[in-house]
């Protein structure tokens, strides 16, 4: 059992980092494998650091403490007609803003305007020396200093403990419309993903569903325009327009990962549509399920049991097995950057 500290202020957060030789931040632990570390690591919960500290709708920005539940943020933004366009996962499960950044987990909406890396503006964090620092900015555009906030996307909390985060937001499109395009196999899916992604329609989300039998294509924009676009798309790719209720349920099920096995590993992969057929075949051979998102650039794979390799680097978010399968080789500079941000090796290494 790891000891756990729960600071309630940013000063307490910095003190918590300094208080133990080995620490790692946790949020709501909706991706528990990322923080399943050696027993001598003291866990620092950010759940006591919750709340939106600044929100200026006319600036397209908000700042919130790292432990703020995403559902609180999305509700606050929605009340002012705005949203985080990258559709963060696990809202109902209680996922936090900080945990989402650390995991580098962007949802289907990232297809259109980009993921976490395209919306993070600034981070106040505690470095490995226990110092509370703020890098990046609080305005939508800033080029001063190195872009450490972007570096933190997917950093798994191994380079600093997030205290407070500033994000860019966008106005929420007036309406959405989802098409279900049946596909015979992963090759056909890959073909649709590639063709549709390059077309004129300004698609909002483009996913291969875990049922593996259809691509879901979402449009977002003015109510008058979407049916016209949908009609043209359906002449290119046979399929149907889903009712609003069916579409909402489909995206909510994807967002909350309701399609996954309750046991067994859940893994995240980065890929290209060209790599999809081989990956899908591997997943099928192991009786697994796969949700391909971002037009074939990211995937979540759920397996009934652990395996050694998916043929591509993969990160285990949940369930048993090692943190990494086929871990990507760290760039030559990785160790020096780790030392720069964490000179005493207070945070676990990326490898574990």
């Amino acid at each position: 059992m790891n000891a756990t500290l729960t600071p309630n202020t940013l000063a307490e957060l910095a003190a918590a980092v300094r208080s133990a030789p080995h620490v790692l931040a946790i949020g709501a632990r909706t991706k528990p494998r990322l923080s399943a570390v050696a027993p001598d690591v003291t866990l620092i919960s950010t759940l006591g650091l919750s709340g939106i500290t600044e929100y200026q709708p006319d600036e397209f920005t908000f700042t919130a403490l790292a432990g703020t539940p995403l559902r609180e943020i999305t509700a606050t933004l929605a009340a002012r007609g705005q949203y985080l366009p990258f559709d963060p996962y696990l809202l109902d499960a209680g996922a936090t803003l900080g945990g989402t950044l650390a995991a580098g987990l962007s949802g289907p909406g990232r297809f259109r305007f980009g993921g976490l890396r395209d919306f993070i503006l600034g981070v106040r964090f505690v470095d490995g020396a226990g110092r509370l620092v703020r890098l990046g900015g609080k305005v939508v555009k800033n080029a001063a200093g190195f872009d450490v906030p972007k570096f933190f996307v997917g950093s798994l909390g191994r380079f600093g403990v997030f205290g407070e985060l500033t994000f860019k937001v966008f106005p929420r499109p007036a309406t959405t419309l989802t098409l279900r395009l049946p596909v015979a196999d992963a090759n056909a899916a890959s073909q649709i993903l590639t063709t549709a992604a390059g077309a004129r329609w300004e698609i909002d989300a483009l996913d291969l569903l875990p049922t593996a039998d259809a691509v879901a294509l979402r449009l977002a924009g003015p109510a008058a325009a979407l049916p016209l676009l949908a009609k043209e798309i359906l002449t290119r790719f046979p399929g149907e327009t889903l009712s609003a209720a069916t579409a909402d349920a489909l995206w909510a099920d994807l967002r909350e990962l309701r399609w996954t096995f309750t046991k067994g590993p859940l893994l995240k992969l980065a890929l290209t549509p060209a790599q999809l057929p081989a990956l899908a075949a591997t997943v099928r051979a192991h009786a697994g399920r796969i949700h391909v998102t971002a037009g074939g650039n990211a995937a979540l794979v759920s397996l009934p049991a652990t395996i050694a390799s998916l043929g591509l680097p993969a990160l285990t978010l949940r369930g048993p097995g090692p943190l990494w399968l086929d871990a990507p080789a760290p760039p030559a500079i990785a160790a020096a950057v780790k030392t720069a941000l964490d000179p005493q090796n207070r945070f676990p290494s990326l490898a574990a």
């Binding site: 600036e59 555009k141 080029a143 190195f146 325009a225």
Partner: protein, 490 residues
């Protein structure tokens, strides 16, 4: 803590070893040859380097950086030299590595919508190379017809369309780079997603302090099918600012929202023969873009918002030629200001958007009090100001007075909760102001990162950090090549 430049071992030996890497014709060290490289888009400062190296291959760049590392000679990478923050101003006793000849587009993958390019490729050349696939490269700095992707990556360049599309960093998927340590690293790749920390994100915007990008993988986007571009003139800047607020509040997400003030209009109209609505203190440019059905649906909403904002005149572009003319006027504004004044400093501080009006009022007051003219061209959607501070460098003390005004504007931006730079980078110009945004611990953190990539402090020293390198010499007037009509700041 600070990265200080190690003393050169022996310049003569260094030059000799340079000759082992490049043929004599591609090592420039004569006084006349060096002159062209003494400054960049920040013409107020110049420094003569030890030599200029003109590599043609990645292997040569790698060999040059490794030689600099072995001989402890500082180096500055240079593309087209358009940096407005002095990012490619040479270092005395150092090597300038020009990357213009590494201008190959190595690969275009229309299916995955990406291009792999060398650093010397010109920004617009990317879009030209992929236009036949219906794709484009989104970042569009005003100097895009001349600036290089390598420079865009080093300084995380912006442009007029950042509100919707972000900066250079948002479009870099992968990088191969030679670090100041002599190591070659590869970050990211062909996927739009990633596992592990965002190394590409950290590298982009390093201002040349980490090393030199050798290969850049850029994401491409489908070109917008149609545009609706409106130019509206207003009696006052305040009215133009109110129109921006109304558009932002409406839920529309225009591709660009730009404002030019009277002085900038005067310059632009003289330079490109554009005719702007008469008697206006400000012109607003707003652009919607997307599928024709979407733009058709949003266009009446935008037109109604602009009509309600009480413009002197609103002119929608009727075709691609008129749209191009609107953007030509906007993008030539910087160099056009050269017609109004022999010298100018371009700033790019950021303020929260809702305080734009207040910021412009205060800039006008400070400019009046200082007796210095100041033209304004800015990305209103981002709160990104571009005050152009006009001065005559032949007048004693004029540059110093202009710099004092520039400093006051930067302080104002930080005090309002903004930034000293939105897209030009800190460079040489604003290094003394970095500490207005970051405290000692934060600066130390940035220094430690720099030291991780460049322990000897050889890569572009004296930029971003105020760390004791010899100050560049002041000069006045246009860049030598600008005077000769060979280059312009667009």
């Amino acid at each position: 803590m600070s990265s200080t430049v190690a003393p050169a071992t022996d310049p003569a030996r260094f030059l000799q070893r340079l000759g082992d890497i490049l043929p004599p014709a591609r090592v420039l060290s004569g006084q006349a040859q060096l002159a062209a490289y003494e400054s960049d888009g920040l013409t107020a400062f110049r420094t003569a380097p030890l030599a200029i190296a003109v590599p043609e291959t990645q292997a040569e760049v790698i060999a040059l950086v490794r030689l600099c590392h072995a001989e402890k000679i500082p180096f500055v990478a240079r593309g087209s030299g358009t940096s407005l923050s002095g990012g490619s101003t040479p270092v005395a006793g150092g090597l300038v590595i020009t990357l213009n000849r590494l201008n190959r587009i190595l690969r275009v993958d229309p299916a995955q919508r990406l291009a792999v390019v060398e650093p010397g490729v010109i920004n617009t050349a990317v879009t030209l190379a992929v236009a036949s696939y219906g794709l484009h490269y989104a970042p569009d700095p005003s100097s895009q017809s001349i600036c290089t992707i390598g420079g865009n990556v080093a300084f995380n360049s912006g442009g007029a369309h950042c509100l919707k599309y972000g900066m250079t960093s948002n479009h870099v998927l992968g990088l191969k780079a030679i670090l100041a340590t002599g190591e070659v690293v590869e970050f990211g790749g062909a996927s739009r997603d990633q596992l592990g920390p965002d190394w590409c994100g950290l590298f982009v915007g390093n201002e040349g302090l980490f090393g030199i990008a050798l290969e850049i993988t850029l994401q491409l986007l489908p070109r917008a099918e149609v545009f609706h571009t409106v130019l509206a003139g207003y009696r006052t800047l305040e009215q133009a600012g109110d129109a921006v607020s109304a558009i932002i509040a409406s839920g529309l997400l225009p591709g660009a929202i730009e404002i030019m003030d009277a002085l900038a209009l005067e310059a632009a109209s003289a330079a490109v023969h554009a005719e702007y609505p008469p008697g206006c203190e400000a012109v607003l440019i707003v652009e919607l873009e997307g599928p024709r059905e979407v733009v058709a649906s949003q266009r009446p909403q935008l037109d109604a918002l602009i009509a309600a904002s009480n413009p002197v005149e609103a002119r929608p572009a009727r075709d691609a030629t008129e749209r191009a003319a609107i953007w030509k006027g906007r993008k030539s504004a910087f160099s056009a200001v050269g017609r109004l004044s022999p010298d100018f400093i371009v700033q790019d501080g950021v303020v929260p958007r809702r305080r734009l009006g207040e910021a412009l009022r205060r800039i006008a007051e400070m400019s009046r009090a200082a007796g210095i003219r100041c033209a304004n061209v800015f990305h209103a959607g981002d709160g990104n100001l571009h005050p152009l501070i006009l001065y005559n460098g032949t007048e004693s003390g004029a540059l110093e007075r202009a710099e004092i005004l520039a400093g006051k504007i930067l302080h104002m931006c930080v005090e309002m909760g903004g930034s000293i730079t939105g897209e030009h980078g800190v460079g040489l110009e604003k290094r003394d102001y970095l500490a207005t945004m970051f405290n000692a611990d934060e600066l130390d953190c940035l220094h430690r990162l720099r030291d991780a990539f460049d322990p000897l402090g050889l890569a572009n020293p004296g930029k971003m950090f105020p760390d004791g390198t010899a100050p560049a010499l002041a000069q006045h007037g246009l860049h030598p090549l600008e005077k000769a009509g060979l280059i312009s700041r667009e």
